[in-house]
């Protein structure tokens, strides 16, 4: 009988105290709508970087129970375009110091990410991205199939799969973290700074005066506000509709799944677009994986099973050893996607309302970065330089930051 506890069994305990459960005040300088990772991080940096603490985070359900609680926690910054690389790399640098900043364990594990290439065109696109990353100061390498096998021996790099692995990009600083720990770390700090985290408080309307929003209507009463920051992820359109502001967002189910706890087999993160799956092995030993969004618009937090089946086929194709791992749980979040797969952040037609949305399948990694930049934007009343390229008006000028056309890597 084995009795030694396995690797990953002992994760750090959560804090003895996380947050108060205050009653909403009549008025706040800043109201953040949405208590996911982005809303909480924004609250933290408002307090920490700008000394703004008369702030409420309004959350319609339980704190960080949306996509923040449902994502697969991949963190990387190896994006193609300069604009994307800038904000994701800023974010990654913050991740690297986040545990100290928050004084909370977040289990950030920089185990690297491999983005596999399976076709000649994949290879070209990959080299292009690696070279761009290097010039942008983002760590990146191009690996041959043999080098891939050295980093992750369980990937089938032989020629006998349908789309043999031709190589991979590798970002060693990429990693995973524990989403709840991250969200709660931010929440605890924000609460400590005096920011009110208000749950079961859905924003149901806005009080406007010309181009100014003077208050929000909520299921816990009306609240007056100086500035509003929308951090509602998949529900952004619902809020913008209340303001009559159109945005090119569509909300889709995005599914993920885990296996049971397994002895360590998978030392890194592997993503494949052609074969359409990505996998990491989380701290306790479960395989965590996902793929693309369900095709149709949906607010249901559930998706279709054929998407999961296809992921399983892809996983077993790339990792034959996974054959008898078991699917333990599936779930879905609601992700807000945009035409160019880049976020929409910045001004709205309302003077004092900022929107932060469109992070789609990949906004977890941006959590500290966007929190930092959005807090700065709110504090100074103008877009931070890293979010300026992601303004809504790019769809009019045509200055898209097309992260799927050219880069074709999500999450």
């Amino acid at each position: 009988m084995t009795s030694a506890t396995p690797p990953g069994a002992h994760l750090p305990e959560h804090g003895d105290f996380l947050w108060r459960n205050p009653e909403p005040k009549k008025s706040y300088d800043v109201v953040i709508v949405g208590g996911g990772g982005h809303g909480l991080a924004t609250a933290h940096y408002l307090a920490k970087n700008h000394g703004i603490t008369n702030v409420a985070v309004l959350e319609k359900g339980w704190l960080a129970g949306g996509n923040m609680a449902r994502n697969t926690t991949l963190i990387r910054s190896n994006y193609l375009w300069d604009e994307s690389a800038a904000i994701y790399e800023h974010s990654l640098k913050l991740w690297e110091g986040l545990e100290d900043d928050l004084g909370y364990p977040i289990l950030f594990s920089q185990r690297g990410v491999l983005n596999l290439a399976h076709t000649e065109q994949d290879v070209r696109d990959s080299v292009r991205r690696v070279e761009a990353n290097k010039l942008n100061g983002v760590d990146a390498e191009w690996l041959t199939p043999d080098e891939v096998a050295k980093i992750c021996p369980i990937v089938n790099v032989s020629g006998d799969i349908r789309y043999p692995v031709q190589g991979a990009t590798y970002q060693p600083r990429a990693g995973i973290a524990k989403h709840d720990w991250v969200a709660w770390g931010f929440a605890r700090k924000a609460d400590e700074a005096g920011i009110d985290l208000i749950q079961d408080c859905e924003v149901t309307g806005f009080v406007t005066d010309g181009d100014t929003v003077t208050g929000v209507c909520t299921t816990r009463g009306d609240i007056a506000c100086g500035t509003v920051a929308l951090c509602a992820a998949g529900h952004t359109s619902v809020l913008l509709d209340m303001l009559g502001v159109p945005a090119p967002l569509s909300s889709h189910p995005l599914q993920a799944l885990v296996s049971e706890l397994l002895e360590p087999v998978h030392p890194t993160i592997v993503m494949s677009n052609q074969v359409h799956v990505y996998v990491s092995q989380a701290h306790k030993g479960e395989l965590v994986m996902g793929a693309g969004v369900d095709s149709y618009n949906g607010y249901g937090q559930r998706g279709a099973f054929h998407i999961i089946e296809r992921q399983m086929a892809a996983a077993v194709e790339l990792f034959p050893v996974f054959a008898r791992a078991h699917l333990l749980r599936t779930w879905a979040g609601i992700v807000d996607t945009t035409p160019d797969a880049s976020p929409i952040v910045g001004h709205t037609p309302y003077r004092n309302v900022y929107v932060n949305s469109g992070w789609g399948t990949g906004g977890f990694k941006a959590t500290p970065g966007i929190g930092w930049c959005l807090a700065d934007t709110v504090a100074h009343g103008r877009p931070h330089e890293y979010v300026a390229p992601f303004a809504l008006d790019r769809f009019v000028t045509g200055a898209l930051v097309d992260e799927h056309g050219a880069a074709a890597v999500a999450h």
Binding site: P248, S250, S251, Y296, G298, F395
Partner: protein, 93 residues
Amino acid sequence: MQLIECPWCGPREETEFHYGGQAHIAYPETPSELTDTEWAQYIFFRANPKGLFAERWSHSGGCRRWFNAVRDTRTYTFLATYRSGEPQPEVQS
């Protein structure tokens, strides 16, 4: 995993269909007369309601015809499907 009623073929598995986004957005009569903003609206901006949504589907693995549907984006339930060109039926969720 819906069973979708193709207006031409009858009920078929969701996997036979392809999604086409919001319905009833006509290609502008004279695009050259639109402002950049109006043109951007046409290309990129689509409604994203939480609730009833009129949208396009194509029975790509069947008769290959496009048709329209009214679906509830909260529950994913199809409340109606109808042929292209037909008016959007009144339905309640």
